[in-house]
Symmetry: C2
Subunit: 178 residues, 2 copies
């Protein structure tokens, strides 16, 4: 594991991209890492693409420099096309395959997760696609421990939504055969 | 008012620097602005300086470039010394005068707010120094409307803490004679 890992989570407003970033950042902090988390609100978040960045490091982090990211999560075609250029050449790309129809050519390691359909079918709401993606990310990359993410979910969402979010996260862990 | 305003709020872990940034970002979003908000968690937040950045714009924001900020809030001597170099030459500097003993030479417009003492005396807890600073910032700079900040406080803090936070914010509005 490198000393510093940059993750970008992207999609459109309302998909919970910012919450997913907050949960991931919090989980890493619980493990004693240094974390910088960046999020977009407002007009941008309501309209087109939404994004959230998490920088996780074993050491102190200089305030965010614009760099290539190691891991890109894309939850819409538009987000994928906007952000793919910022992914490192051999980075990890995780897409919601229900939202991404066309995958541009890339040397990244690509994982396609049926997050939106799984959320709609098993959890009765597309709103949980974000935690399913987070589960897949956790399983694929191992950058945070499962227990830390579950604690971060518990501490980040209202009590009434906890169980469904944790169930979604666990579904995400299982969608990736290891 | 310029098209794009960058605010950095700095202090040490536990002073509510991140929450202050979230409230400010949310308030600006309520006014229809584009907002990017960045925060540090984890080892850094618990240890030395903590910081939070808010970029507010009328238009779409490229992902955060490291630039000079227009407004710097410093809630500790260490934070002031670390971040003053990143303030624009004629920027606005707002310090908690109970936490900053020595002010380095600067061409910035300086405002000294007795935030920690006011919080301890009038609100019985130093924890409200952050919203007092936010009140001062709102009054001095006018970058967000008072009502928007009050709504953002209401939406950002647990119900049991709302009243005290709003009272703190209003104290901050008054500590600056206009």
């Amino acid at each position: 594991m490198p000393k510093r890992i940059e993750v970008r989570i992207s999609g459109f407003g309302g998909q919970g991209v910012v919450l997913a970033g907050e949960i991931l950042g919090r989980a890493a902090a619980y493990e004693g890492k240094y974390v910088v988390q960046t999020q977009s609100y407002g007009a941008e978040a309501r309209g087109g693409t939404a994004r959230s960045e998490v920088i996780i490091s074993d050491g102190k982090i200089d305030f965010p420099k614009v760099r290539k990211c190691d891991i890109l999560v894309a939850m819409s075609q538009n987000a994928l096309e906007t952000h793919l250029k910022d992914l490192k050449e051999k980075g990890v790309l995780i897409v919601d395959k229900d939202k991404v129809e066309h995958l541009p050519e890339t040397k990244a390691k690509v994982f396609k997760i049926p997050a939106t359909k799984t959320a709609a079918k098993l959890l009765k709401s597309r709103l949980y696609a974000n935690v399913i993606m987070l589960g897949a990310l956790t399983k694929i990359t191992g950058i945070v421990k499962e227990k830390a993410v579950e604690k971060a979910i518990t501490d980040s969402v209202p009590e009434t939504a906890r169980e469904a979010n944790i169930r979604g996260f666990r579904k995400g862990l299982k969608r990736v055969a290891t």
